[in-house]
Structures are given as C-alpha cells and as structure tokens.
C-alpha cells in the first residue's frame, strides 16, 4: 500500500522529543542517538519533530534532514505496529532468504520497505541480524525466529496478528 502522507497528520506533541533531547543535555554530537530514541517514541520521525530537533540543537534543518535520510534505520513515514526484519546476510542468503522474503511478500501483500494496509506489519530486509549460525533468520519486534521455513513464517504471522484481535 502507499505510505500515509505525513503532511495531513494532526499536530505532533513535542514533549516526548524534548524529554529525549534533555536526556542528552541537548548536545548535538548525540544527534544520531537522539533521532533513534525519538523514532522509538514516535514510531517514525515526523517532520515537525525533526524541525524541533534542529531548533533545540542549534543545527540547520537541512543537517538534521541529511542525517535522518542517510541512515537506513530512520523512517520519515509511519510504520506498522510490528516490524518484521528479514535477514539477507550472506549465511541467510545461501540458505534461501530470498525465497522466504518472497513468501513474506506473498503473505503480507507488501514489498520490503512497505507497510500492510491494516497498519499491522512493516516488512524490511536487513543486511545481517548476527545470528548466522541459525540461518535463515527473521526478527519480529526484537524476537528472533531461527532456521526459518515457510511454515514458521505462517505461524509467526498468525501469532502476532492474534495479539491484535479485539478481545486480546
């Protein structure tokens, strides 16, 4: 599905961003860490927050934007409630990671980098999760799934989708 348009969103509460910036004493050398913590708090990096960071750290907005777009883990658009990282490290690749990514794409209906229409899952490929001995591997919200197969993918997706059921 197409990513949601950040321009149309409601005004953003900057309190959480201020808390993060204060925890680094508004020291601009911690910009990369500050943006990571902000992304954790907001799910992504909303434009008004980036502008606020620039003001608080006495940096130009273009500098903050440059850093926010340089690193792969930053997202300027809202992401799904669960983040699926499918590893395409060398060990995983040799053991069929590409086919598993295609399986995920078939099941979720989204390509890597995209979010499902229900906002539940964002699919991303990563260079290496560092669990190569258990290749192929994927990670959902920090939980590893090793020696991955199509069956395990189905079970994992069902498990996370069930968590979102209205009565859960």
């Amino acid at each position: 599905m197409a990513p949601t348009n950040l321009q149309t969103q409601a005004p953003v509460d900057l309190a959480a961003a201020d808390a993060v910036i204060d925890s680094y004493q508004a020291d601009k050398s911690w910009l990369v860490m500050i943006l990571q913590d902000i992304q954790e708090a907001y799910n992504y990096l909303p434009q008004p927050v980036l502008e606020h960071v620039a003001v608080r750290l006495a940096l130009t907005p273009s500098h903050v934007y440059r850093v926010a777009t340089f690193y792969a883990s930053f997202s300027l658009t809202r992401r799904g409630r669960h983040l699926i990282l499918i590893c395409d490290g060398t060990a995983c690749h040799l053991r069929g990671a590409e086919n598993l990514q295609e399986e995920l794409t078939r099941r979720l209906g989204v390509a890597p980098g995209q979010t499902t229409a229900d906002g539940l899952f964002t699919l991303e490929t990563v260079a290496c999760l560092g669990a190569c001995a258990l290749a192929p591997v994927m990670m959902i919200d920090g939980t590893y799934f090793g020696k991955l197969t199509s069956e395990k993918i189905v079970a994992a997706l069902e498990r996370f989708a069930a968590k979102e059921a209205p009565d859960a």
Partner: protein, 637 residues
C-alpha cells in the same frame, strides 16, 4: 548487596578472591547461554524452567544467564559447575530436560548419558586457570572439552569467559581474574612499557585491516592535543559475521578493560563504543557493564584510587554499513552523516572531534588484557611469523556445524572447515569458502591449504576481514554470490565518490544481466574492466575492496560465468531464469516432502506411490523441493 567502590589495588584483590570463592564455591552453579543464538533456540524457556525447578525444590543452587560458547547449533546449552566435579555441558536442552537435570543434581547426580562434554580444567576458558578434577562420578564416558572435534583444535583467548561467566555481573568477571591486567598495568608498568608490550606481542587489528595495534597506540600517545579518545568499533557490519556480537554480549568487561589499559597508556580520558543497532542485546550488556564498572571504581573518576580518569559511553549505529570504516564511524559519533573522508591526516593525530584518537575493533580490545597478564612473549609464540595470536571466525553457510571458533593463526582453512566444522552439511560437495565479508573473496578447493594469516589471505585475493567464514557447496552459484555482495555494496555505498557510487551500480547491473540469462562474453569482460576501475579509483576501503567478490569469483570460477553466458545454464541450479526443476521419477520414492515444502503448491502426486510432478507454470524456482528431498530426486535442467 552490591559491594562498595574499590579505592585501591588491595580492594580489588580482596574482591576478586571473594568472587572466586562464590564462583567455584560450595553451591551448584547452573548456567544457560542466553545470547542471541540461544534465545532464538528457546534458551529463555530453559532458564525459566531451571529457576522455577530450583525454587520449587527449595534448593540452594545458583542459576545464571551466560552468553554464547560458540556452538550455536547445539543451543540451548546448560553448563553445570558442581563442587568436586568437572564442569559438564548439556546440549539441546528443553524445559522438561532442564527440570530433570535439577532433579538429578538435587541428589548429586549428573545425567551423563545426555551430556555433550565435560571440562576437567578451566584452562583459558576463563582468565584464571582452575583445575576442576575430583570424582568423575559417572561422567567418565562423557568426552572432555578437548576431545570434541569442534573444540579440539580451538584456542580461546579473545573468547575466553564467553559463555562461561554471567556477563551482567562484574563479580563473575572478577572471579575469573578480571581487571587484573588493568591493575598490573597501573601498578607496575609505565605507559611506555605497556605500549612496548603490545608492540612486541605482534597484535594486529582484528577488524580486518591488520594494522599493528601497538604502533597505533604509540602514534596517539605522541600526538599533541587534549583530550584524547579511545574508540571501540563494534559496528560489525559484515553479513555472516558475529564474533564481536558474541564478545560484547558474553564478556563486555574484557572490552572495557582493554580500552581502559590503552587509555592509561595513551593518556586518553574518554572512550566511545560504537555498536550497530541490530545488536540490542550487546548494547544492553555493555551499558550495564559500564555502570557496574563505574560503581566498582573500575571506570570513571579516579580509577582504583590511582588518579586516572576514563569515562566510556555507547554510541548506537543507525544502520549504515559504511560506518564500520573508521572516518565514517567517527563522523557518526560526532552527529554527522557517516561519510568517510580521505585519510591524509591520521586518526591518531586528528580523529573524533578533531582530537588524537585510537580506534580498535572489539576482538582486538578483548585480546589486550590477556597480553598484559601473560606477557608479549606468550602471545607472540602463538601464530605465524607476521600474524600473532588467535583469530575468531564465525563459520556459517553450508558448514555442517555452524558456530563461532577461535583458532591460532596459521591454521589452514581446510582444518577449520573440515576438522572443526565437520565439512559440508548434508554430505554435499565443497565448492568455496568466502572470507572477509563483502570486501573479501571466494577461495576454492585448491586454496584450502592457505593458512589463516593476514598477508597470505590478501595475497590470494581475499582478506582476513573481521572473521566471517562462509562455506559454500555445489548448490551455491558463484555468479549469484558475486551479484549478492555487489547488490549489498551498491546499497551501502555512501555516494560520495563517483567510482564507487556509479561503478558498483554498473557492476551490479552486469551481474543481474548475467544471472538473468541475458549476458554475453563481452559483458563478462566489461564486468572485469569496471571492477578494476572501481578498485583503483574509490576514496575509501568500501569502494576499493567492493570488486573483490567479483574479481575473485572471476578468477577462480570463470567457468561458471561462461556457463551462464554461453550455455545459458546455471550449473548450481540457483539462477531462476536459467533453472528448471524436475522430478527424477526413477529416484522418487513418493514421500511427499517436496509437495509439503513447496510454497506455491506446484507439486502434485508424491504420495501413495505416485511420483511427484512439478507444474512449471506454478513453480517459482525457489528450490525448496530440492533442499528437502532425501533421495536426490529433484534434478535441474
């Protein structure tokens, strides 16, 4: 219960002794490896079962969470240290077995029949050797650590303590002699002598470059400018490598101690550890280790009352491979985009924040305390003429036993792949081994007798790299491997210099064309030409080494490239456009495994004695059927 801050060396020795008594003391100590691999294999449930069963039975046992001992494939692993008995390791433990284990130990009994191995001596498993022999009480048949093929040829120096101590408790590090090297350095070694010791040991950078560590330290000590910085590169970006993750997760204090020794020798007062975001557990363990070390007076202000200050902070990477490069890493710490710069000025003179800086990799730091404790001569006696000590490798891919191994330099690749890792999985044919990550190269069967040595591997067109060792079998397409690495590098190129930004992209396009079955021999020649251009004209190491996977496969596996372009055939049966899977009816036993594995339901039959049949219209050429077939009944055309 935490002990007070230590203010002198006598405090440290007293506390080490108390910790040691507790570690090897009268209580049974159970531990589970809950590093990343362990957790992925269910070690968390095993840990919970052990704790619960111990509590339920009201036993006075210690239950600990450790990290990785390297045998990832056998996880979850439980390590039992009971007074008067050897250390015993159990593998593939599930919660039920964990409970049975506790039940047995409550009566003083081991389950010798389940055990993987025993250790009669904690020799180099931990910092301080300790003999554990006593009664063998039913354990005589359990092989020792040294008898297991996976461990027999290994030598643990950088990986000592990993998986053997609780990384979240500084007392366990102290129990095994931790921080003795820092104490020794501050007490009896002038900075000059520390640097001279590291120089004489022959230690070279373990991140891949192989630059002499002592030389770096000396240049930084002699550089003008205050304050000075000591950095740890934990941005282990090479896909297929996880040595540094294991050390940061399993023995974070070893890294901190190494950095503190260097800071003392160089005159640095600040340190940063740069860790990639994909390693949340490593970040957590380092953070807690720093906190504990500060509370204990081992880091921070006035360390051990010696008037030496050294503060360490963690900087998390945000997903850029290029940040493993030293100048890009420093830019990232400063809050910039992680772009490298040309190295006209040395890091030792003007590094992070424009100040003199020493940057070493995680594994290098972990070696430092051992060198200070054991001496330069001890370390220099291990290895080859110009590559001293040991090297840690993550042996992955199509190896039979995947995991983390540490071997003395000079061991051949053949010994690592066949003697330690047991050769190729599933009895397949060995084809190549890839070292050095995306910047490294592929080496074939005829080069397996190369020794693990910085210079020998570089001369062969690969490189030591950080230690990823990826085994490939006859079902690995070398052209596709080159395409894979080049695609990775294309994405990770920061875009600053044209040679890398455009050149690697063109290489990738050519490789795509060849693997898609549309290449010609002229494309192969052009690929080679562009590769050489990129290697010669890029600014930083990423671009300079980016053509290595392509050039090394062109050199050693050119025939495979030619099969793609002249015969329109992928010999390994990997490239989808050139591969068609069919069932060899004569060999098919109709077991049904292939149709179960097929993600697109393209296989019919395969049950009730009817041989399977692949519907080519539905087949997505993933090769799952071939992977699972026990009878080699899936062929390629």
């Amino acid at each position: 219960m935490p002990e007070a801050r230590m203010n002198c060396l006598a405090d440290l020795r007293g506390r080490q002794e108390r910790a040691r008594v507790a570690f090897y003391g009268p209580k049974v100590r159970l531990s589970v490896g809950v590093g990343t691999c362990g957790l992925a294999n269910g070690a968390g449930d095993v840990l919970e079962a052990l704790r619960d069963e111990v509590a339920r039975r009201g036993l006075d046992f210690t239950v600990r969470a450790t990290a990785c001992v390297g045998l990832c494939e056998m996880e979850p692993l439980v390590d039992v240290l009971a007074p008067g008995l050897p250390r015993v390791f159990y593998h593939k433990v599930d919660p039920a077995r964990a409970r049975d284990l506790v039940a047995g130990l409550a009566k003083g009994l081991h389950h010798g029949d389940w055990a993987l191995m025993r250790a009669d001596q904690d020799k180099l498993l931990v910092d301080l050797p300790r003999s554990l022999t006593g009664s063998l009480n039913g354990l005589a048949a359990v092989p020792t650590f040294e008898e297991i093929p996976f461990y027999r040829h290994q030598m643990k120096v950088a990986l000592r303590n990993c998986g053997f101590i609780d990384p979240l408790d500084v007392e366990e590090y102290l129990a095994t002699g931790g921080y003795s090297a820092l104490a020794k350095a501050m007490e009896s070694m002038p900075p000059e002598q520390i640097i001279e010791t590291i120089e004489r040991s022959g230690l070279r950078g373990r991140g891949g470059g192989g630059f002499p560590t002592g030389k770096k330290w000396r240049a930084c000590r002699e550089a003008h400018g205050e304050p000075k910085y000591v950095l740890c590169n934990g941005d282990e970006g090479d896909p297929g490598a996880f040595m540094d993750r294991s050390i940061m997760e399993g023995n974070p204090h070893a890294v901190l101690e190494g950095m503190a020794i260097a800071a003392y020798a160089i005159g640095a007062s600040y340190g940063y550890i740069y860790v990639r975001r994909e390693y949340p557990l490593a970040v957590d363990h380092l953070r807690r280790a720093i906190l504990q070390a500060e509370q204990a007076g081992l880091l921070g202000i006035n360390i051990l009352g010696r008037g030496f200050d050294f503060t360490v902070r963690i900087s998390r990477g945000a997903g850029a491979f290029v940040c493993g490069e030293s100048t890009a890493l420093m830019a990232s710490i400063e809050g910039q985009a992680g772009e490298p710069r040309a190295k006209h000025i040395h890091t030792s003179e003007k590094g992070v924040f424009g100040r003199p800086t020493t940057l070493n990799n995680v594994e290098t730091w972990a070696n430092v305390p051992v060198i200070i404790n054991q001496g330069a001569d001890w370390f220099a006696a291990i290895g080859t003429k110009a590559s001293k000590g040991t090297k840690v490798f993550s042996v992955v891919g199509k190896a039979r036993t995947t995991g983390l191994v540490e071997v003395p330099m000079g061991m051949t690749l053949r010994e690592i792949v066949f003697d330690i890792a047991g050769g190729v999985a599933g009895g397949r044919q060995f084809k190549a081994v890839q070292t050095g990550g995306p910047s490294g190269g592929c080496l074939g069967e005829d080069q397996l007798d190369l020794p693990v040595d910085f210079d020998a591997l570089t001369a062969a067109g690969s490189m030591m790299g950080s230690g990823g060792l990826i085994v490939m079998d006859d079902r690995t397409c070398m052209v596709e491997v080159a395409r894979y690495f080049t695609n990775f590098l294309r994405r990770e190129s920061c875009g600053k210099c044209t040679a890398c930004r455009e050149g690697v992209l063109r290489m990738y396009e050519l490789l795509e064309k060849i693997t898609a079955g549309q290449g010609t021999t002229a494309d192969v020649d052009l690929l080679e030409e562009v590769s050489r251009y990129v290697a010669d004209n890029s600014i930083c190491g990423l671009g300079k080494s980016a053509p290595n996977p392509t050039l090394s496969t062109l050199k050693h596996f050119r025939g495979e490239y030619l099969a793609h372009v002249t015969e329109h055939r992928c010999p390994a049966g990997v490239c989808k456009a050139l591969t068609k899977f069919t069932i060899l009816t004569a060999s098919c036993k109709a077991c049904g495994k292939c149709s179960k594995a097929c993600p697109t339901e393209a296989i019919s039959g395969g049950a009730k004695k009817v041989p399977a049949l692949i519907d080519q219209a539905k087949c997505v050429r993933c090769g799952s059927c071939r992977e699972v077939c026990p009878f080699d009944a899936v062929g390629t055309e």
